[in-house]
């Protein structure tokens, strides 16, 4: 067993699985960084992901175009999260509750629509998923090559989104405004920033990214849709945002930690190793709690986190 674990093939397959499991979390987390920085805790990512995963699969299945499926998943993600935006910014609902409600609704709608369209079958309908694109030269490097440069295009896009979201957050006026409405909505309002608008955009960005994450699950990670396709990745993304202290670069680290512990668990199970991997799976969540403690202490959390902004109220 042990020489099996310490072999190069095991390592390569483990790291490849890590990347594949980390990508959807990374997608969703990058979007949630904007949402949460604007002061909104959207626990409904899970629901957005499952609805988008269903949309991506259905569109890809009938149109034959994976990219059409991917794009429609993003559109569905934006539309679905607009409910969250409306609930939290217009109706001033308790965000936690709104998120839980939309998760239940999302799980219901995705499974319902899928069953109505495809019916009950013994074998679930399948599609050809996004193919692996080997980058020339780079993919020939041992271990690193097959792990980093032999992936599908959505994975590469996710990695490219890291610098993009960093730039958007740290180097643009929009990023500054997102941080302001999360930190001090009243002062932002006094400065002439449309608080509700910025917050809505932040939620929709999160929705678009969660949509991409959902599409990744059903058309890149898997090639089919099942009711429990998105098992906790949405919540993991929320955790990763806290873990990373709202920094896109660290969101990658966080996603990889979650991806790795999942991948290791799956690989160990595949070779039948009797190592209690549940304790390992627990670890990222415990680390997240510690990250939360340190962010809360240094007041790195947005001051208006989960607080709706009401203009008239003093």
């Amino acid at each position: 067993m042990w020489n099996e674990i310490f072999s190069l093939t095991f390592l390569t397959s483990l790291l490849t699985a890590t990347i594949r499991l980390a990508t959807p979390i990374l997608y969703a987390a990058l979007g949630q960084i904007f949402t949460q920085k604007a002061g909104i805790l959207n626990l409904g990512v899970e629901g957005t992901m499952i609805v988008s995963a269903m949309a991506a699969f259905t569109v890809s299945y009938f149109s034959g175009s994976l990219w059409l499926g991917f794009i429609s998943a993003i559109v569905v993600g934006v539309l679905w999260s607009s409910i969250m935006a409306w609930l939290s910014n217009t109706m001033n609902a308790v965000q936690v509750i709104a998120g839980i409600g939309l998760n239940i609704l999302g799980a219901g709608v995705a499974s319902y629509v899928y069953r109505i369209i495809f019916g009950v079958r013994t074998l679930p309908p399948q599609i050809d998923p996004f193919p692996v694109v080997e980058l020339p030269l780079l993919s020939k490097i041992p271990v690193i090559g097959p792990v980093l440069f032999c992936n599908n295009v959505p994975t590469y896009i996710a990695f490219l989104l890291i610098p993009v979201s960093w730039f958007l957050m740290e180097r643009t006026t929009f990023g500054l405004r997102v941080k302001m409405v999360g930190e001090h909505p009243r002062a932002s309002d006094a400065k002439g920033i449309h608080v509700t608008l910025i917050r809505n955009i932040a939620v929709l960005i999160g929705g678009a990214c969660a949509g991409a994450a959902g599409a990744y699950m059903s058309t890149a990670y898997m090639n089919l849709f099942t009711d429990n396709l998105v098992q906790g990745q949405g919540f993991m993304a929320v955790a990763v945002v806290i873990f990373s202290k709202f920094r896109p670069g660290w969101a990658l680290v966080g996603s990889l930690v979650f991806g790795f512990s999942n991948a290791l668990q799956m690989r160990l199970q595949a070779i039948g190793a009797g190592i209690p991997n549940q304790l390992l799976l627990m670890l990222p969540y415990i680390v997240t709690i510690f990250a939360l403690i340190s962010t809360s202490r240094k007041a790195e959390m947005p001051s208006a986190y989960t607080k709706p902004y009401v203009r008239m109220e003093r």
Binding site: M91, I100, G108, A239
Partner: protein, 352 residues
Amino acid sequence: MMKRRLRSSISTTWQTAVIVVAALLLGALFIAFAGESPLECYGVMLEGALGSMSRISEIMIKMVPLMIMALGVSIAFRAKLWNIGAEGQMIVGAITSAVVGLYIPLLPWLHMIIAPIFGMIGGALWAMIAGWLRVRFNANEVITTMMLNYVALYLLAYMVYGPMQEPGGYNYPQSSSMAESIQLTPLGAGLRVNTSVFVAIGVLILIILFWRSRFGFTVDLLGHGTKITNYAGLNANRTIIWTMMLSGALSGLVGWIEVYGVHFRLLEGIGAGFGDLAVVITLLGKMSPIGILFASFFISALLVGGATMQRMTAIPYSIVDIIQGLVIVLLITQPMIQQKLQARKARGIYVE
């Protein structure tokens, strides 16, 4: 005073009924979209939920744990502590109470007292972690309770695959079965509903009394903010921790009921999805004990009836999730809509 309270509770009941009907009507749209008759499907659902004694027994089996759990959640929610970790607290309660039944040799009647207490302690301690983190580090309890849910989930998996796994049990993720003498007894031959119904009634009465007690008042006060609580000369921090513990204790008690009354052993996936359901029920019941009693009946009937509907018609079980999700969305938009309507009415008077 009494009259005003009665009137306000009637109007709340009325509003909640409107929301439930609206959610069912929107659900009917989904059924119609699938090309089925909503009336017929809802008929099958009602029949499946209340059609026979065994159906009602099935409702009770779901209603007892869900009501107790929702009562626990409501304690935290009224203090504006968004404890979404009821499921984790229930799981830990299930583990601690199962430990008593499996490893501690006691007289059966003593077991019936010790096991639920252990369950409650387990749940309370698990919830206390989140409460303590909130008080000590100002850590958002939503995130901590959510993370602790997963930790509990994996702890359970570790236990039933590892130290607590049934010896010689074909490697199933479950513990040995509880001795029959310490199981909760069914209320009738062939029925699954058991003596935990009386536990539920007891808890309900205790919680009604709780809200009239001094501590209940403090919890409600905490819901208005920690500053107000401190100004009133009460210790907000201590209240936060005790509120979380009480909330978790009830979920832990549910862990005991599931282990000793439903599954008769500890197993993976015990009480899966109960956390979300408890939140739905708490909100639908407007966080009042009697409201939660009715809400837990409605949701349990929906679950049991939905399963029948899936078997008898072409409508998938997920319609149950859709209706629940709609109920939550409608419930949280209700205060704002009401405010807008009132503002419009007031403006109308002004213009005249």
